[in-house]
């Protein structure tokens, strides 16, 4: 019984971390699907989201709900701006140039926050205050419940948006074939902007959940979850939205389980080994589709 409780609790830990990875991975995968680039600055949007929330709640003393909305808007605007300023001029450039630019933007965001907020970690209390729940001997923290509920809601909402709205269809069309979509009268630039806005909004949500969990602001806080989420996106199949969700959650659970039952020191190695194995067996990721190149 104790073992079962322990496994269930570790599973919950994994689900919670995995949900945050999934939210971030969605941003990677959507941007990759549309713009065919890895937006390495995406992880730092989480950091921007966390700091923005801090500014709105602690410095400007806004009510939490308003602060959350403003945080999401801030990140979306920054996401669109980054795309317009840094990536759009390079749309026809080599993929490597875009990749390096993305890394540059990542450093820019980190160093800006270092400049503004300094290197000393800032303690920032959680705005999510939900009591924990005891369920059949399991202790589920309020934050875990909120994280899972928010993640599920976001995923359902995103799926509906993509499959049921005109903009969603436009995004699918652009990711399928940019040229053809343009010929069909789709505003490609606007579609790309919306994609970046949604990706960044998801990162903002991830940032809010992340900072509520760990309560310490650091200019580099987005780097590690960003990389893990990128791995999750590749694991699930980059470009695939269900893949990103699945990849994130699987990654969180593998990480948590290997920390608990194999070795805390090897958990990262295990996570990356799983990635290597998956890519060897199925190079496009678990749910990714391999597109045949027509020559």
């Amino acid at each position: 019984m104790a073992l079962i409780t322990s496994i269930l609790e570790q599973l919950l830990n994994g689900l919670r971390i995995g949900s945050v990875y999934a939210l971030i991975a969605l941003g990677y995968t959507m941007v990759y699907g549309i713009a065919k680039m890895i937006n390495f600055a995406h992880g730092d949007i989480i950091m921007v989201g966390a700091y923005a929330l801090y500014v709105y709640v602690s410095l400007l003393k806004l009510p939490p709900v308003l602060a959350v909305i403003l945080t999401i808007i801030t990140c979306s605007v920054i996401g669109i701006t980054i795309e317009k300023v840094a990536y759009k001029p390079l749309r026809k450039a080599q993929p490597l140039a875009v990749l390096i630019t993305a890394i540059g933007v990542s450093y820019l965001l980190q160093n800006l926050s270092l400049l503004i907020f300094k290197a000393t970690p800032i303690p920032f209390g959680s705005i999510i205050k939900v009591p924990s729940v005891k369920l059949a001997g399991l202790n589920i923290s309020g934050l875990t419940i909120v994280t899972l509920v928010v993640t599920v809601a976001v995923m359902v909402g995103l799926t509906l948006f993509i499959n049921r709205t005109r903009m969603g269809h436009a995004m699918l069309a652009v990711s399928e074939d940019k040229g053809a979509a343009e010929l069909m009268g789709i505003n490609v630039n606007r579609t790309i902007s919306v994609t970046f806005a949604i990706g960044s909004a998801l990162a903002a949500v991830a940032g809010i959940l992340y900072i509520s969990q760990y309560e310490t602001l650091l200019p580099t806080l987005g780097a590690l979850p960003g990389i893990k989420a990128f791995v999750a996106a590749v694991l699930g199949g980059i470009g695939s939205i269900p893949g990103a969700m699945f990849g994130g959650i699987i990654l969180g659970i593998i990480e948590s389980m290997s920390k608990a039952y194999i070795s805390t020191q090897l958990s990262d190695a295990i996570v990356f080994s799983v990635l290597v194995v998956v890519l060897l067996v199925k190079p496009s990721g678990i749910l990714g589709k391999l597109k045949a190149e027509k020559v």
Binding site: Q10, N139, S141, E255, K259, A260, Q265
Partner: protein, 374 residues
């Protein structure tokens, strides 16, 4: 008549010169070596400033009297950038400036780099903060701070013997020498005292999520958790433990000093107990005097490096007085006999190996403030 007046005035002047020279203090130069630039600059700066406070205090109270000579203390500082290559050069710099004894180096690596040279020169060397064993290998070298293992051993004794805890879980940073050094000594001592380590969970530098480790501990029958780590790690760990509904008491190492500045809710660390040689926020007369003098002079709160340096200067004073000489040879011989009432220990004495013998102090957090455990 004129001539007589001149002779008298000259004689008077001569007496004045002689009398002042009898009163005027000779100077005892402490050669301080440590990093005041580079990545470890904060350590060296703290040591330098802590020493300056002690020197000002001693000189203000009339200096150090050895036999019928009174010495004023002076600090001659050289920057070694915490580098093994720069330390010998810094040592030569302070020796050229006439250093009578060496306070340093601040960091272990640099300290070891000059030990053979100080041994050859036969000069008294006291490191305020070099915790590695090699720092005090030679007979002329002494140490003020605890070595890392000593802290782990002290906490193991305290938990098992004083608190009566037999089943203990440990969370430590496997990638950090400080943390894993304490952890090894702690676990060995707990076993030796008849306790049991029911879980030994590792993490790595910059980890922020400890839920997996804590959940594992939760499912053991541990009665307490020992975390030899820095305060930022402790902040994450205590908070996440609370969320998991754990109420096990936490014990920590001196790296916990500062944890109240990083937690968002002080109740998560209420009641924790950690070893600490010095704690600036404790309401103790001697500590308060030191802290306020330090804050006034430098606008910052002294840390344990500053306190170690403060005690180091008082150790020099005690050695001079005990030896009745300022010759290194005599002072080194006097070291095992002295007893210093310092910031990090009261009394501090020195064993044959050259390590400071002092009580490990335990600090607890009560009502959101640090206090010594009674």
């Amino acid at each position: 008549m004129k001539r007589t007046a001149k002779v008298i005035s000259m004689a008077l002047a001569a007496t004045m010169v002689f009398s002042t020279s009898a009163m005027a203090a000779e100077t005892f130069i402490i050669g301080g070596i440590g990093p005041t630039t580079g990545a470890a600059a904060s350590y060296g700066t703290s040591v330098k400033q802590g020493a300056e406070i002690a020197i000002a205090e001693i000189n203000g109270a009339g200096g150090v009297t050895v036999g019928d000579t009174t010495y004023e203390l002076a600090l001659e500082w050289a920057d070694d950038e915490a580098s093994e290559d720069k330390a010998p050069q810094a040592y030569n710099t302070v020796m050229d400036a006439g250093a009578n004894a060496i306070m340093g180096c601040v960091t272990s690596g640099a300290c070891i780099a000059i030990t053979s040279q100080t041994y050859q020169d036969g000069i008294l060397q006291i490191t305020p903060s070099g915790s590695a064993e090699g720092c005090i290998e030679n007979d002329n070298a002494f140490r003020i701070c605890f070595s890392d293992p000593e802290q782990g051993v002290a906490m193991a004794d305290y938990m098992v013997e004083t608190m009566g805890i037999s089943k203990i879980a440990v969370i430590y940073n496997v990638a950090d020498e400080y943390s894993s050094g304490i952890q090894e000594a702690f676990e060995a001592e707990v076993a030796a005292k008849g306790g049991e380590i029911v879980a030994s969970e590792a993490f790595q530098t910059n980890d922020v999520d400890f839920n997996a480790q804590l959940t594992s501990i939760k499912n053991t029958d541990a009665e307490a958790i020992y975390v030899p780590a820095y305060y930022q790690d402790a902040t994450y760990i205590t908070k996440q433990a609370g969320e998991l509904g754990m109420s096990l008491p936490f014990y920590g190492s001196d790296g916990w000093d500062g944890v109240l500045g990083t937690v968002t809710d002080a109740s998560t660390v209420e009641g924790v107990i950690f070893t600490s040689p010095f704690c600036a926020s404790v309401e103790d007369e001697k500590v308060v005097a030191f802290v306020s003098a330090y804050e006034e002079a430098y606008g910052a709160t002294p840390d344990q490096f500053a306190a170690d340096a403060y005690d180091c200067v008082y150790t020099f004073k005690a050695a001079m007085e005990q030896a009745g000489s300022i010759e290194s040879e005599d002072m080194i011989a006097a070291m095992p006999e002295i007893s210093v009432s310092g910031q990090t220990g009261d009394p501090i004495t020195f064993d044959a190996a050259g390590a400071a013998v002092k009580d490990v102090k335990f600090v607890t957090i009560k009502d959101g403030a640090y206090t010594f455990v009674e």
